[in-house]
C-alpha cells in the first residue's frame, strides 16, 4: 500500500456518503450539504494525486473547485431560501413543475 491509497480510500468513503445523501435526502438543504461533501471528497483525491505525482496543476484545480463551490453555495442557498419562503417546505420531490 503506497502513501496515496489511504487518502483515496477516505476520499471514496466521503464521496459515497455524499452520493447516498444526495440521492436519499428529500430536504434541499441536506441534498446541498451532500453535494458539498462530494466536492470535498473529489478535492481530497486531487490533492492526494498532486502529492503523489509531484504536480501542482491538480492543486490549482482544487482552488478553482473551492472557489466555484463558494459561489455555488451563495446562489444555491439564496435559491433554497426563496423556495422556502414561497412554499414553506424544501422537499425536492414537490418541486416537479418543470417536468416534460
Amino acid at each position: 500500500m503506497d502513501a496515496v491509497t489511504p487518502y483515496l480510500i477516505l476520499s471514496g468513503i466521503l464521496f459515497s456518503m455524499g452520493l447516498i445523501g444526495a440521492l436519499t435526502r428529500r430536504t434541499a438543504i441536506l441534498v446541498f450539504l451532500s453535494v458539498e461533501l462530494m466536492l470535498n471528497a473529489a478535492n481530497l483525491a486531487l490533492v492526494a494525486f498532486a502529492q503523489a505525482w509531484g504536480d501542482l496543476i491538480a492543486q490549482s484545480a482544487v482552488f478553482i473547485v473551492m472557489t466555484l463551490a463558494a459561489a455555488e453555495v451563495a446562489i444555491g442557498l439564496a435559491i433554497i431560501v426563496t423556495i422556502f419562503r414561497k412554499r414553506v417546505s424544501t422537499n425536492v420531490d414537490t418541486l416537479a413543475e418543470l417536468k416534460g
Binding site: 444526495a22 440521492l23 425536492v92 416537479a96 416534460g100
Partner: protein
C-alpha cells in the same frame, strides 16, 4: 357621334356606381344614374342609326401587336345595319328595363350595386356587338358572361342561386372554347381576324375549304353556349335565379341572342360551309322543339318563360341556319320586345304577389292588376302568333323560309308554334284568369314599373310592321338589312304564302283553343303522360348529371379515398416516432433525485467503459 361613346357611357356609369355605391347614392338615385347612362348610349345609337348608309368603321389604338399579318390588330368598332339594329335593341330595351328595375329592386340592400352590374352588362354587350374583329367581340362575349354570372348569382346567399350562376358560367366556357378554336382556325387560314377584311377574303374563295366547315361548327358551338341551344341549353332555365329584370334583359332580350348575332355576323363563312350551315338549322329546329316541350308542364312563372326563350332562340337559329338572316334578326327584335314584356309582366306579378313564383298560387289577377294584365295579354298574343302582333310576323317569316328550305324543318317549326300557343295560353290562364288561389294580397305595381311595361307593349304590338310579308307591302327590315346581309328573294307564289299564313294562324288558334279547353275550369294540375318528361325538361339535366357529373364525383371519391390512404400512412409513420417519444417523456419526471440517480448510472457506465478500455489496452 363617335361609336366609342356608346359603350363608354354605360361603362362610366358602372365605374361611378361601383366606386361610390349605396353610401353616396341614397334612395333610388343610383338607379336613375344607371338608367340615364343607358339612355345616353341609346341617344348615341339613334344618332348613328340615322342616315347610316355605308358601314362606319372606326379604329382606335393598337391592341395585339403583329397579330394581323404584320400589322397590329387595332381596337376598332364597326357599325353596319345589323349591328345598328342590335345597338338600338340593347340600349332601348335596356333603358326600359333599367327604369323598371328602379321600382322592382327598391327594397334590395344592394340596390346601387345591381345597377352597376346592369351598366357593366350593357357596356360589354355593346362592345360585343360593335367589335370589328372576332377577338374584340370575344372580349364583349366574355364580359357579358361575367355580368350574367354576377347577376344570376346576385342573391348569392341562396345556395341554389349561386350554383345556377356557376352552372351558367361553366356551360358558357364550353361554348367559348368553340369560339376560340374557330378564331384560331380562321387566323391560321386567312391571317386576319378583322371581320370586314375576313369577309372580303372568304368571299374570294372559289374552291371548297373543309377548314371553313370546321370553323362553322366551332362558331356554332360558341353560339350554342351563349344562346342556350342544344346541347348546352340547361343553364338558361336555371339562370332564372337572378332578379326578374336580369332575366328580361340578359336571359331573354339581349345576351342570349348573341349567338344568333354571331352567326348572322359570320354569314360569309356559312355561305361557304353548307354542311355547318345545315347543322345550324337543325340545332335551331331541335332546340325550338326541346324548349317548347319542356315549357308545357312547368309551374314556375319564370321557368315557363325561360323554356319559351330557349325555344324562341331556337327559331332564330333555325332562321339564320336556313339562310334567312333577316328573318332571324327580325325575330330577334320582336322577341326582344315581347319576351322582355312577358318577363317584366312576370316581374310585376311576382312583385305584386309578394315574391310568389308558383302559378298554382296565382290566378284571377286580371282584376287585381289591370295594367299588368293588359300588357301581359299583349305579350301572350304576340308570342302565340296572333296577327297584327309582332310575334306573328317574325315567326311567319321564319316558317316561310324554313318551308322553302326543308319541309321537315317547317313541320317542326309549325308544331313548335302549336306548342308555344298552348303553353303560353296555359301561362296566361293560370296567372290571370279564374279565381285567385294564393294567400297574399296582390296589388298593382307603381307607375315606375308600369311605364316600361306599356312602352314594351306598344313595341310588341306595332313592332311587327317593320317586316311585313311582301304580299302586304314593302318589307322595311329586309330592305334595310340588304346592305349588310345576303337577302334571298322569295320564290314562293302569293297564293302559297297566303296558305302558309293561314296554316300558321290556324295552328296558333288551335293551340290557344286546346289550352283554354283544358285549363278554363280551374284545372291547375299537370297534363298526364308526358308529365314527368316535360317537368324534368326531357331529362337533359339528369342525362348530363349521369354522363359528366356522376363520373367526376366518383373519380373525386376515389381520389379522396387514395388521399386518405396516403394520409393514413403518413400518420402511421408519425405515430411510430411519436409513440416511443411519449414513453421517453416518462424519464422527465421532474424529480431531482431521479435525475441525480440517472447521472450516477450514466457516470458509472462511462467509468466502466473507460476501465474496460484501459484494462484491455494493458494486455
Amino acid at each position: 357621334m363617335p361609336l366609342y361613346l356608346m359603350p363608354l357611357i354605360p361603362f362610366l356609369g358602372f365605374l361611378i356606381l361601383i366606386t361610390f355605391g349605396g353610401r353616396v347614392f341614397k334612395g333610388s338615385s343610383g338607379g336613375w344614374i344607371g338608367s340615364l347612362a343607358v339612355l345616353g348610349a341609346f341617344v348615341v345609337a339613334i344618332s348613328n342609326y340615322m342616315g347610316l348608309e355605308r358601314p362606319i368603321h372606326e379604329q382606335y389604338f393598337a391592341w395585339l401587336p403583329y397579330l394581323d399579318n404584320g400589322k397590329d390588330l387595332k381596337v376598332g368598332f364597326y357599325l353596319d345595319q345589323v349591328s345598328s339594329i342590335m345597338t338600338l335593341v340593347i340600349t332601348g330595351i335596356g333603358f326600359l328595363i333599367h327604369v323598371f328595375s328602379i321600382g322592382y329592386m327598391q327594397d334590395d340592400p344592394r340596390y346601387t350595386r345591381f345597377f352597376a352590374f346592369l351598366n357593366f352588362f350593357v357596356a360589354l354587350m355593346l362592345i360585343l356587338v360593335l367589335g370589328d374583329s372576332y377577338p374584340l367581340m370575344f372580349v364583349g362575349w366574355e364580359g357579358v358572361g361575367t355580368a350574367s354570372f354576377l347577376l344570376i348569382g346576385f342573391w348569392y346567399n341562396k345556395r341554389d342561386y349561386a350554383n345556377a350562376a356557376r352552372k351558367a358560367f361553366i356551360m358558357n366556357r364550353i361554348g367559348d372554347l368553340g369560339f376560340m378554336l374557330g378564331m384560331f382556325l380562321l387566323y391560321k387560314n386567312f391571317g386576319t381576324l378583322v371581320i370586314p377584311d375576313l369577309a372580303e377574303k372568304v368571299e374570294g374563295i372559289t374552291a371548297i375549304m373543309p377548314a371553313l366547315e370546321l370553323v362553322g361548327l366551332f362558331l356554332l358551338l360558341g353560339a350554342a353556349g351563349k344562346s342556350g341551344q342544344l346541347p348546352l341549353t340547361t343553364w338558361l332555365p336555371d339562370a332564372m335565379a337572378g332578379p326578374t329584370p336580369v332575366s328580361a334583359l340578359i336571359h331573354a332580350a339581349t345576351m342570349v341572342t348573341a349567338g344568333v348575332y354571331l352567326i348572322a355576323r359570320s354569314y360569309f363563312l356559312y355561305e361557304k360551309a353548307p354542311m355547318a350551315h345545315e347543322w345550324v338549322a337543325w340545332v335551331g329546329a331541335l332546340t325550338a322543339l326541346y324548349g317548347a316541350l319542356s315549357a308545357i308542364n312547368q309551374y314556375d312563372i319564370k321557368k315557363i318563360l325561360a323554356y319559351s326563350t330557349v325555344s324562341q332562340i331556337g327559331y332564330m337559329i333555325l332562321a339564320v341556319g336556313v339562310g334567312a338572316y333577316w328573318a332571324g334578326m327580325f325575330h330577334l327584335v320582336t322577341h326582344a320586345f315581347f319576351k322582355a314584356l312577358l318577363f317584366l309582366t312576370a316581374g310585376s306579378v311576382i312583385h305584386g304577389c309578394h315574391h310568389e313564383q308558383d302559378v298554382r298560387q296565382m290566378g284571377g289577377l286580371a282584376k287585381k292588376m289591370p295594367i299588368t294584365h293588359a300588357v301581359g295579354l299583349i305579350g301572350w298574343l304576340s308570342i302565340a302568333g296572333i296577327p297584327i302582333f309582332s310575334g306573328f310576323f317574325s315567326k311567319d317569316a321564319i316558317l316561310t323560309s324554313a318551308y322553302e328550305h326543308n319541309i321537315w324543318m317547317y313541320a317542326i317549326g309549325l308544331f313548335v308554334a302549336l306548342l308555344t300557343a298552348f303553353y303560353m295560353t296555359r301561362w296566361y290562364v293560370l296567372v290571370f284568369r279564374g279565381q285567385y288561389r294564393g294567400h297574399a294580397h296582390p296589388h298593382e305595381s307603381g307607375p315606375i314599373m308600369t311605364f316600361p311595361l306599356i312602352a314594351l307593349a306598344a313595341l310588341s304590338t306595332l313592332g311587327g310592321f317593320i317586316g311585313l310579308p311582301h304580299i302586304f307591302g314593302t318589307n322595311q327590315l329586309s330592305h334595310y338589312l340588304e346592305a349588310a346581309l345576303p337577302i334571298e328573294e322569295s320564290h314562293i307564289s302569293a297564293s302559297l304564302e297566303w296558305t302558309l299564313i293561314a296554316v300558321a294562324v290556324a295552328t296558333s288558334v288551335l293551340g290557344i283553343f286546346i289550352a283554354f279547353m283544358l285549363y278554363r275550369q280551374r284545372r291547375i294540375e299537370r297534363i298526364g303522360g308526358i308529365e314527368n318528361a316535360s317537368v324534368q325538361a326531357l331529362y337533359l339535366n339528369t342525362l348530363y348529371d349521369n354522363l359528366f357529373s356522376a363520373p367526376s364525383r366518383a373519380l373525386a371519391k376515389g381520389l379522396d379515398a387514395m388521399d386518405r390512404g396516403v394520409e393514413g400512412g403518413l400518420e402511421a409513420t408519425a405515430k411510430v416516432s411519436t409513440e416511443p417519444g411519449g414513453w421517453l417523456t416518462h424519464l422527465q419526471n421532474g424529480y431531482v433525485r431521479a435525475y441525480a440517480s440517472l447521472m450516477l448510472v450514466g457516470t458509472a457506465a462511462l467509468l466502466l467503459y473507460l476501465a474496460i478500455r484501459v484494462l484491455g489496452g494493458m494486455q
